[in-house]
Amino acid sequence: MTRPPRKPRKPVASGAISDRVLEPAAEAELELTWKDPPGFWGWLVTTDHKRIARRYLVTAFLFFGLAGLGAVAMRLQLSKPENTLLSAARYNEIFTMHGTTMMFLFAVPIMEAVAVFLVPLMIGARALAFPRLNAFSYFVYLAGALTLWIGFILNIGPDVGWFAYTPLSGPEYSPGHRSDIWAQMITFTEIAALAVAVNLTTTIFKMRSPGMTLSRVPLFVWAMLITSIMTILALPAVMLASSLLMSDRLLATQFYNPAEGGDHILYQHLFWFFGHPEVYIIFLPGLAFVSSITATFSRRPVMGHIPMVLSQIAIGFLAFGLWVHHMFATGLPHLGDSFYTAASMAIALPSGVQIFCWIATLWAGKPVWKTPLLWVVGFIVTFVIGGLTGVMVASVPLDLQLHDTYFVVAHFHYVLIGGAVFPLFGAFQYWFPKFTGRLLSETAGKWQFWLFFIGFQLTFFPMHILGLLGMPRRVYTYPSGLGWEPYNQIATLGGVMLFTSVLIFVINVLVSLRRGALAGDNPWDGPTLEWATTSPPPPYNFMLTPVVDSREPLWEHREELPVMEGLSTAKREVLTSSPSEAEPISRQASPEPSIWPFLSAIATTIVLLGTIFSEWALVWGALPLGVVLTGWFWPKRPRAGGEAQ
């Protein structure tokens, strides 16, 4: 074959200024090109990032509910001394399921889901870079989540804590398959999360609208980019930790067996090399939501855009230098302890810079106190408290006193719920109209916020005191007379308020889906590109490709948005651009809907579940996996010497 003629590498500038979008026939063709097949088949084969993100959101939220019910059960058990509501063994299972579900089935996937929905819209793209990979990731995630919870229902759920330390999780102390289920759930969910991370990274670097240079990338997208890169670098560590654990259990390898030269501390290093960045993988998207909400409801751009971006990058770097502060109690060398103490304190600085930038934005703006902004204020208050207790436990002597007490439980709930769940509920309220076309009720939203904010402080603040009084984590009961009862009772009361708050949210969503006020394209007068399209957006996102010349394109161009034409309406096509300057480079084909991601997820599930029982599943399981992957990538071009298929 001879070299095809090269086409010009730059788009042709149009001299004409026109109000037209597409001709009606072209618009109908575009709709047809990007439309999914109808019904359940369409649900299975869709590659639309918005549909997949919505199902990710719903699934992750269901697991949030299940893990929350586990939390309520634990709080009821601890509400009085020597309670017999739960047995010790059941309590172990429930706190393991609670932590594992919250971290792996809720926090990471739901943050990625919001990004999967919004990032292509915010950068003006028609789709994600790898739509089928995105569909595959959801089904693999779902299979991992079902593995964990079906295991729990069948009474073979894990009971070794969310980080499954060896030797407790190893072959000697955890016979049966409880630990295997935990370890393979890790593999499922990490494959899914990594697939999304690669997808988002490529999409952000390569598919931004013309003119969206790196300096014009919204803070939301920056945060998601850094989160995705962190995910790529951090998650292999937990996959390795859990795979070696599986291997010790299944193949009698000796990685974590000190009697044969292995080491339990190796497991902790691998786990926390993932585990600490994981906190920021959950928290950085929270910052993304806060930045978007703060700008829109302060009616001005976020103060200090460049320091904000640099702070996020700094967090990304520093997050990988802190993992040992989870291991101070293991007796590591003092010099190492000092380094990790310093690094743990240092990361408070970029977090602080961002807090001050948001406060300055609110100060300099004209705040509109809608519900999303209440969640931002709730976030700032709660997260600052959690950050301060984090600085406290970064100090080795104090950490040794507080290690494995309720003080640590209080700290990480302040950071994780404060840093991620508060912004997440704000994000739901803010972007719900874009997700569904309808607004959530403001009144119900305010009830939800105040119940959640007060309930949260009542639940978790007393735990600081319980920790200082010496109450250890992960105990299913405690004797009376230690002075712990009132704090536990307050915490349980707060837990009930949290439960009520979430119930109000669920009712608000269900009612608003049917009766919520119609939102229109841009109900909040938001500045970023997702508000330029309809609510909910069409399958192709934008009829024409937006052109960007500022960080707040919709505030810059209130009357009409500059766009480029020329992407095909007859076939799925996306525009690719240069990583830094976002100069248009090419039009590349985007995949059609396909059943193969679903079938590949099933084949992956067979391999991963098979290896719980036999190492040979890796061998025989490779065959169906190879078949479905071949089907996935089967070429659609004509046969050599024949006609198109």
Binding site: M1, R3, P4, K7, R9, V12, A13, S14, A16, I17, S18, D19, R20, A129, V198, T201, T202, F205, K206, I232, L235, P236, A237, M239, L240, L244, S247, T253, F255, E260, G261, G262, D263, L266, L270, F273, A532, L544, V547, E560, L561, P562, V563, M564, E565, G566, L567, L575, T576, P584, I585, S586, R587, Q588, A589, G626, R637, P638, R639, A640
Partner: protein
């Protein structure tokens, strides 16, 4: 909202090579994930080495050098062919690409056979002690990469002959060559650890 047309992208090409192609960026992402896997496995090797006095554990012997050297030479030689294939792909040379990919499939078979001569000559098993476990871990991870990329090249090579080649296929072959380079380069530190560390560390 209202729009104002300021340009037309229809004249842009429909495929690109390397860093200009989104598929290549996806591959970069997966290579980054796998590189982290290798780095952490190497870290685990060095960690376990650091906490033990002898390496390998008696009575294990160090791995025999020759099979590892043979595989390394074969991998490096395949890289010459691989780079040539990548250049042919960028030049849209259909015949050269078909020849190169066929050669790479054959090279893959030879390298996999060579790898299976390496394994018994490691002089340890995965289940005897932590030295054996971590040595086999490194070998397993790299062998998995060889096999999966060979299978991928095989399927892609088959389609080059059964289906018409269009410009995007040259970009796909180019990307696949990039991945094989990763497989070759990642072997070098693993080879050094598996074969030299038991002798010199």
């Amino acid at each position: 909202m209202k729009t104002r047309i300021v340009g037309d992208v229809s004249a842009l090409p429909d495929h690109e090579f390397g860093l200009k192609s989104i598929v290549w960026w996806g591959l970069l992402g997966f290579m980054a994930i796998e590189s982290m896997g290798f780095v952490l496995a190497i870290g685990a090797y060095l960690y376990i080495r650091g906490i033990n006095d002898s390496w390998p554990f008696p009575p294990d012997q160090s791995p025999a050098l020759l099979p590892g050297i043979v595989t390394t030479i074969l991998l490096l030689a395949s890289e010459v062919l691989n780079r040539w294939t990548a250049r042919r792909a960028k030049a849209y040379d259909e015949r050269g690409v078909k020849l190169g990919v066929t050669g790479m499939i054959a090279a893959g078979v030879i390298i996999i056979i060579a790898r299976f001569f390496e394994l018994p000559n490691l002089h340890t098993r995965w289940d005897v002690n932590a030295y054996g476990s971590v040595t086999w871990l490194l070998m397993f991870l790299h062998t998995l990469h060889i096999i999966t990329d060979w299978a991928d090249t095989g399927v892609m090579g088959g389609w080059l002959f059964t289906h018409k080649m269009e410009p995007t296929q040259f970009s796909e072959v180019y990307d696949n060559c990039g991945y094989w380079t990763f497989v070759v380069v990642s072997w070098l530190p693993i080879w050094a650890l598996v074969y030299l560390a038991p002798r010199f560390m």
